[in-house]
């Protein structure tokens, strides 16, 4: 494209000045909006994260002081409530990521493979069914899930039919791993596990697992995102469909072998995309937590994104809120850069490989 553009300009020299002006005029609205509502605000928030602004009047008024790294220290190294709340939110989100990312990927892939069957009638209906949750608002989905997962709700009615006494999902703060340990009689930590560890959280607390309440949110996330990722897998499956069949034909492979030794390797780039997109998205979970009030279930559903909001808007600790947001910001940017770097590495090599094969 760059070449054609260059050729074109050389040819049409007379209009070049007009074109330059038009170019800037055309990008101006997008650039101005981005500058004013994205770049400058981030600078402003960066300042707030180094200040003692308490939410009164402007953060730029002369009564606001520079406090250096104090806000960052309060949530990371100084032991106390602020550090504990941050540590707990990181733990909660970590388990959320650990469960959501693999599960949504596996389920999306499963859905895609089933829907993709060439012989299947009504595949359009199935695809619609699986994708529909992805287009509805989180607020609506949270309401539906709260209704389903209430103590006397539909989910407990279904598992009750199998003789299982379901928990009060959204209010149960028991860690799933703690719950499993208590089955074998371990209910209290011992030794080192009881001592405050990383971010002021004891090893025992780090090992709690997602709470029952967080598990409901994990299911909610899988429910809403698997449809989207199914579409990505479907697109990939369709594009390699013929190759798979040919390869399988030559190998004489059965369905299971075909799936694991041919389909999966060929899907690897999409798999990678889905995993990293899921990873980046799962560290940003906010809407669900906000709608549920954020502090319920013994603080086990709070996430850094929500805590940043709450510290600022409710507790008036704007410096700490902004500091949490920046830590999250840098973390996610690093993930994104890693993804881009890996994709860039992978892209040419794959192309070369393909070229070599042909």
């Amino acid at each position: 494209m760059a070449n054609t553009a260059a050729v074109r300009t050389r040819r049409g020299g007379g209009i070049r000045r007009g074109e330059a002006r038009a170019g800037w005029l055309f990008v101006a609205p997008a650039v101005v909006i981005t500058l004013v509502f994205l770049v400058i605000p981030i600078m402003l928030a960066l300042w707030v994260s180094f200040s003692d602004w308490n939410g009164f009047q402007s953060p730029l008024n002369p009564r606001v002081n520079f406090v250096g790294l104090e806000n960052y220290a309060a949530i990371t190294v100084d032991s106390g409530l602020d550090q504990k709340n941050f540590g707990i939110s990181v733990r909660n989100n970590l388990y959320y990521v650990l469960f959501v990312v693999p599960l949504q990927t596996i389920i999306a892939l499963l859905l895609a493979v089933q829907v993709n069957r060439a012989v299947l009638r009504g595949r359009g209906y199935f695809r619609t069914a699986f994708y529909f949750p992805s287009v509805t608002s989180t607020v609506a989905i949270v309401i539906v899930f709260q209704f389903l997962f209430t103590a006397s709700g539909a989910v407990n009615a279904v598992i009750g039919a199998f003789g299982i006494d379901g928990p009060d999902w959204f209010n149960d703060s028991t860690g799933v791993f703690h719950g499993l340990l208590s089955v074998v009689g371990i209910t209290q930590p011992s030794g080192l596990l009881a001592e405050p560890g990383f971010l002021g959280i004891s090893g025992w607390e780090w090992l709690a697992g997602p709470s029952v309440a967080m598990s409901s949110l994990i299911m909610l996330a899988i429910f809403t995102t698997s449809g989207t990722f199914m579409l990505l897998f479907l697109a990939a499956l369709q594009s390699i469909g013929a190759e798979i069949d040919e390869a399988a034909l030559m190998d004489g492979a059965g369905p299971a072998r075909k799936f694991f030794s041919i389909t999966i390797p060929m899907l690897r780039p999409t798999l990678f995309t889905v995993l990293t997109l899921g990873l980046i998205g799962s560290w940003q979970v906010f809407d669900q937590i906000y709608v549920l009030g954020g502090t319920s279930a013994g603080g086990t559903i709070s996430t850094p994104a929500y805590l940043a909001y709450r510290s600022s808007f409710v507790d008036l600790e704007w410096g700490q809120g902004a500091a949490i947001a920046f830590i999250l910001f840098i973390f996610i940017i690093v993930l994104t850069l890693l993804q881009r770097w890996a994709l860039a590495e992978r892209g040419p090599r794959r192309a070369r490989k393909k070229a070599g094969l042909l």
């Binding site: 553009a5 007009g18 074109e19 330059a20 038009a22 170019g23 055309f26 990008v27 609205p29 909006i33 981005t34 994205l38 605000p41 981030i42 402003l44 953060p59 859905l111 089933q114 069957r117 012989v119 299947l120 199935f126 069914a129 529909f132 287009v135 509805t136 608002s137 989180t138 607020v139 609506a140 949270v142 309401i143 899930f145 709260q146 209704f147 209430t150 006397s152 539909a154 009615a157 279904v158 429910f223 449809g227 989207t228 579409l231 990505l232 697109a235 990939a236 369709q238 594009s239 469909g241 069949d245 995309t273 998205g281 560290w283 940003q284 709608v291 009030g293 940043a308 909001y309 600022s312």
Partner: protein
């Protein structure tokens, strides 16, 4: 929900390929297919049933909704929840705000992003590469960390708690600019060349010739923008506080957290959830082909 963008952008440039259906089925294949159907029907039930009983429960009484959550047909059908939504609860106001904001945001975004995308793809000007690189960099800024910064700037500019503050920051997105630029990169320049020789001005050419050609990309951007702003929650939490400016998302969310003493009220909440979902559902069914298209095209190709 943030993951919708990449999926559609990705679907856009997925290669299309045809393959032939196998005509004859062996016995083993038939069993496999049957199994496949069973799995799919089971899964589809899991995905759809929650919505069905939610709709059903919105017509139940509070007590029945709590006690008999699974029941498909309400024992006593009541419209009480819907009456309350249009009586005590300012639901129409929320819907009106959401419609207004989503419309303005969608139109603005489609227009500004295609303008910028076109300029970055076709027009030569100094700093073009820098602007493009900047947009690429901004693509990776996670939306959720913008909540505090956005609030701060709106407060500084005096736009906090106004329609302007709720709308203007959403009028352009780096992702939209990127989608449009990619699209313009992929269509040939010959038609524009002809118009250029006719002496058409840049904007007139963009408006009368380029935009009509860009319909597929515009539709994609339209769907993304409308669905995105209709379902937006975070920005409307931090850009307003007056109840008059509540959108569907913030308003219905306040029904969930509930004023002290208002209790569970599942039918009311579910009715609100059902109603707020209808417009995006309609959009989804109209543009279903478009949204999930690539695969369909491949099949028929």
């Amino acid at each position: 929900m943030t993951t919708v963008t990449p999926s559609l952008a990705g679907a856009e440039d997925a290669p299309k390929r045809s393959f032939r259906r196998r005509k004859v089925l062996g016995g083993r294949a038939r069993t496999a297919m049957l199994l496949s159907y069973l799995i799919l029907i089971g899964l589809a039930l899991i995905y759809i049933y929650p919505f069905i009983i939610s709709i059903s429960a919105s017509f139940k009484t509070d007590a029945e909704a709590t006690q008999d959550a699974l029941g498909l047909i309400p024992q006593t059908i009541t419209f009480a929840a819907y009456e309350r939504l249009f009586g005590d609860v300012p639901f129409p106001l929320w819907a009106g705000n959401t419609l207004l904001i989503s419309t303005v945001v969608t139109v603005g975004r489609v227009f500004f992003d295609s303008l910028a995308g076109y300029a970055l793809s076709r027009l030569r000007f100094r700093g073009r590469t820098a602007v493009f690189v900047a947009f690429i960099a901004i693509l990776s800024v996670p939306g959720v960390v913008l909540l505090i910064p956005r609030f701060l700037i709106l407060q500084q500019l005096g736009l906090y708690d106004t329609y302007g503050g709720m709308i203007i920051p959403l009028l352009s997105t780096a992702a939209g600019v990127f989608i449009m630029k990619q699209f313009f990169d992929s269509i040939p320049v010959s038609i524009e060349e002809a118009a250029r020789i006719d002496g058409a001005g840049t904007f007139r050419m963009f408006w009368t010739i380029v935009l009509p050609m860009a319909r597929p990309a515009l539709v994609t951007l339209f769907i993304l923008s409308f669905q995105g702003s209709w379902n937006e929650l975070g920005h409307f939490i931090v850009s307003r506080q007056s109840p008059e400016l509540n959108t569907l998302t913030t308003g219905v969310a306040s029904l969930v957290s509930g004023q002290l003493g208002s209790g569970n009220q599942f039918p009311l909440q579910l009715a609100a959830a059902v109603l707020m979902t209808i417009p995006v559902a309609i959009l989804f069914f109209i543009f279903q082909k478009r949204i999930m298209n690539t695969t369909e095209g491949g099949e028929k190709g």
